[in-house]
């Protein structure tokens, strides 16, 4: 079965698909199905592989600029060849494997990690017609695949036979258990309101504009905004990014599960981290930021995949900005944040979304009441639980010695 490019849309929207169809048309009938699938896989690998390469450069550049230094600028103009130099270096370095390590698991961990972190891309709607795989339960599939990546981190930590790595493995599991729940709970309201688990239909449900200017993205509703923030915090933890980079924790566990990895295997871990970050950001865009939808009606002339890419990049830059700013949490604080703050908030958010869904028919002044109630349902628990979370922690005033 080969999906054929629709002909009803503007040229730029369908151009990638038409190119694929033209190429497949050159092949004999028996090869067409498998080639069609392979082209999708290759396209994802190429686009996100290249994105990974330049995200590392962007991260180093941004971190550098934040810290009053130029960042890499020697390899090619503006350091643009740096990712390739890094790749060559990683490939040509000696691959050191500890003698006591579990040879099989130690080898498998980076491979499994990259493979699993790529799975999520299969169901992301990159554009109006660009969905690699149409699944009815796409969202469920995505998070199942995403949760499995943490297992690979545990494999790496366990197999290295290093005490730091072992501690990192313990931390990775605790983090997985803690943050999977808020991550899943945060998007349930979206599923509730859209009435579907299919990513394509969730994006379609967010289509349209009020007055041609205000998009119907879920992030612009009280429950959607709360869900988005919870989702992004949990996504930071899921992708082991600062301030939740506890398994890696350079200043405590040296590099945690990465301590005993070198050469290209080490690079693979970073590849997986960036893939995971891209996939989760892509899912956040799909669930809350209207996917490939343009923000205003008159901006629709820009192809949908460009909008998706733009929103994705904004979220990724947010990840980098956070990394450049915040200190790391401790393990008990990390779990407390998840169980005592994010999970209850996400549960309450379910109720808010239910209220929102039930009052969809309210018009006129009732609409104001709807907004006020929903906002109160979001803000009140946030403030109350935020106070409890940071109880006992406050800026202090200091006295001076009497002289």
């Amino acid at each position: 079965m080969i999906a054929v490019a629709p002909t009803s849309d503007r040229f730029l929207e369908v151009a990638p698909l038409q190119l694929r169809d033209w190429f497949i048309g050159l092949l004999p009938q028996s090869l067409r199905w498998i080639t069609s699938g392979l082209i999708t896989v290759v396209a994802i690998l190429a686009v996100f592989g290249l994105l990974f390469a330049y995200l590392t450069l962007a991260e180093r550049k941004i971190l550098g600029r934040v810290q009053n230094r130029p960042g890499p600028n020697r390899t090619g103009w503006f350091g643009l060849l740096q990712p390739f130099a890094d790749g060559v270096k990683a490939l040509t370095k000696e691959d050191v494997v500890p003698r006591d390590a579990d040879q099989v698991l130690h080898y498998l961990a980076p491979v499994v990690l990259v493979a699993l972190s790529l799975l999520g891309f299969a169901v992301l709607p990159f554009g109006r017609h660009l969905v690699p795989v149409e699944l009815d339960a796409a969202v469920l599939y995505f998070f199942a695949a995403g949760a499995a990546t943490e297992l690979a981190v545990f494999m790496a930590g366990w197999a290295s036979r290093n005490k730091y790595s072992l501690l990192a493995a313990m931390r990775a599991l605790a983090q997985l258990i803690s943050y999977e729940l808020p991550l899943l709970l945060s998007f349930v309201p979206v599923v509730m309101l859209a009435g579907t688990l299919s990513t394509t239909e969730i994006v379609t449900a967010q289509g349209g504009w009020t007055g041609g200017w205000i998009p119907h993205w879920y992030v612009l509703t009280p429950w959607g905004f709360a869900g988005f923030v919870i989702f992004m915090i949990a996504a930071l933890a899921e992708s082991n990014r600062s301030p939740f980079d506890l398994p890696e924790a350079e200043s405590e566990l040296i590099a945690g599960h990465l301590t005993e990895y070198s050469g290209f295997k080490y690079a693979l871990f970073f590849m997986a981290e960036y893939f995971g970050m891209c996939a989760l950001s892509g899912m956040a865009v799909t669930l809350f930021l209207g996917g490939w939808q343009a923000p205003c009606a008159w901006l629709e002339f820009i192809p949908s995949y460009a909008w998706f890419a733009g929103k994705l990049l904004v979220l990724l830059l947010g990840f980098m900005w956070i990394r450049a700013t915040l200190p790391r949490l401790r393990m008990d604080q990390l779990t407390r944040l998840a169980w005592k703050f994010l999970v209850p908030l996400a549960l309450i958010n379910l109720g808010t979304a239910a209220f929102w869904s039930l009052t969809a028919g309210w018009t006129g002044p009732l609409q104001l009441v709807r907004w006020a109630v929903a906002l109160a349902l979001v803000v009140t628990p946030f403030v109350v639980m935020g106070r409890r979370l940071t109880a006992g922690v406050a800026p202090r005033t200091y006295r001076y010695a009497a002289s």
Binding site: N68, R69, K163, P327, L329, P395, Y398, Y400, A401
Partner: protein, 390 residues
């Protein structure tokens, strides 16, 4: 390793938390953190015994940087030891120099011209700014910031090092103080540069504090972590910001009133909790007081000679006797104890290193905390291994 292998470290007044070996507690894990570890501030090693991630025993190991400093001091002339003191606490060569000069001046009964005293205060306070900025930056690095606060601190440190370089010829190994004064007289340009730095430093502190001091993650990570009681701090001989963070008003600049410090108007900030956050904040507040001292000293700098004209550099042989000279270094009381037998070399040369003595209470602060805490507690004690190991 079983629990029975764990010998309790019976420090005076301190008790060792011992893991209970029951079905809920598995085996203990012994991790050797360091000497190759990014957060041990040099070649320091902590052998930590962990129950999960909780520390039940911590054994500091050091000496990897031992250079026979004190024995070298006994085998060289008084003046030849001066550049060696640079290498003790290699961040703060100016205050090391000064403490050594104070000891020798006491021994030989040398007077110091007023201008030199002022210049010494200016350089000591610049050193305090440098040390505290770096400490705050490194502490944030240990907390898991990706280098941003450290780089901000280093940007300011560079400016101070530039001043040191243009005055003494060296950025870190200044070798600047002499017995009875200072080596070179600062020019008007240099003093203007120091004034510019003093005027601009407050803005850096504001920026640094805006980024960090009120940050919830930082407060949660540091408040209540690594508590040190004032009783333990006093009995262990802890000095400097770590002592003042426990609420003990002991600042040699006030207590001894050495040099021309009594002429300046400054306050001594005190903490109430003795935890990591207090140790961090005391340093930030001390930097603000240092700025006050700096602007007063720069404004009131008198003219005159920079060296005591009667001081002898060559053939320097103090009469037989002993002397202990100490000043308030950025890390605490840095002191030199010298015994002279009338020859060109000291008979006994002994350093009181604040880093080393402040490090002795590390286990007491770390027991019952996690690995992540141990790293920032060590960071907040502020050690330099060059001074610990000597």
């Amino acid at each position: 390793m079983s629990v029975s292998d764990l010998t309790p470290l019976s420090a005076p007044g301190g008790s060792t938390v011992r893991a209970v070996h029951d079905e809920f507690h598995g085996d203990l894990l012994e991790v050797s953190m360091g000497p190759h570890h990014p957060s041990t501030h040099g070649v320091f090693r902590m052998i930590v015994t962990l129950d999960g991630e909780t520390i039940v025993k911590l054994k500091p190991v050091f000496g990897y940087l031992h250079r026979n400093h004190e024995k070298l001091g006994e085998n060289t002339t008084y003046l030849a030891s001066m550049p060696y003191t640079d290498r003790l606490d290699y961040l703060n060569s100016m205050t090391n120099n000064w403490a050594y000069a104070v000891a020798v001046e006491k021994l030989a009964g040398l007077a110091v011209p007023e201008r030199a005293e002022y210049v010494r205060v200016i350089l000591a306070e610049l050193t305090r700014l440098l040390n505290h900025s770096c400490l705050a930056g490194f502490l944030m690095q240990d907390c898991g910031c990706s280098g941003t606060p450290l780089m901000y601190a280093f940007r300011e440190r560079e400016k101070i090092l530039d001043l040191f370089e243009s005055l003494s010829g060296s950025r870190m190994m200044c070798n600047y103080q002499r017995f009875g004064g200072c080596r070179v007289d600062p020019s008007a340009d240099w003093l203007a540069g120091a004034q510019r730095l003093t005027d601009g430093y407050g803005a850096f502190l504001d920026e640094f504090e805006a980024l960090l001091t009120g940050n919830e993650i930082l407060m949660a990570r540091t408040q209540g972590v690594g508590r040190l009681s004032s009783a333990l701090a006093i009995s262990a001989g802890v000095t400097g910001p770590a002592l003042r963070a426990t609420g003990v008003a002991h600042d040699l600049r006030k207590v001894d009133g050495y040099g021309v410090y009594p002429r300046f108007d400054f306050r001594v900030p005190l903490g109430d909790h003795g935890d990591t956050y207090d140790r961090y904040m005391i340093r930030i507040l001390e930097m603000r007081e240092s700025l006050k001292i700096l602007s007063q000293a720069l404004a009131g700098l008198p003219g005159g000679p920079i060296m005591d004209p009667k001081a002898k550099l060559r053939g320097f042989r103090p009469k037989a006797g002993e002397a202990y000279g100490r000043i308030e270094g950025p890390k605490g009381e840095i002191g030199f104890y010298l015994i002279s037998d009338g020859s060109a070399n000291p008979y006994r040369y002994r350093v009181r290193p604040p880093s080393f003595i402040n490090l002795t209470i590390l286990e007491d602060m770390c027991l019952g905390r996690t690995v992540a805490d141990a790293v920032i507690i060590l960071g907040s004690v502020d050690i330099v291994l060059g001074e610990v190991d000597r």
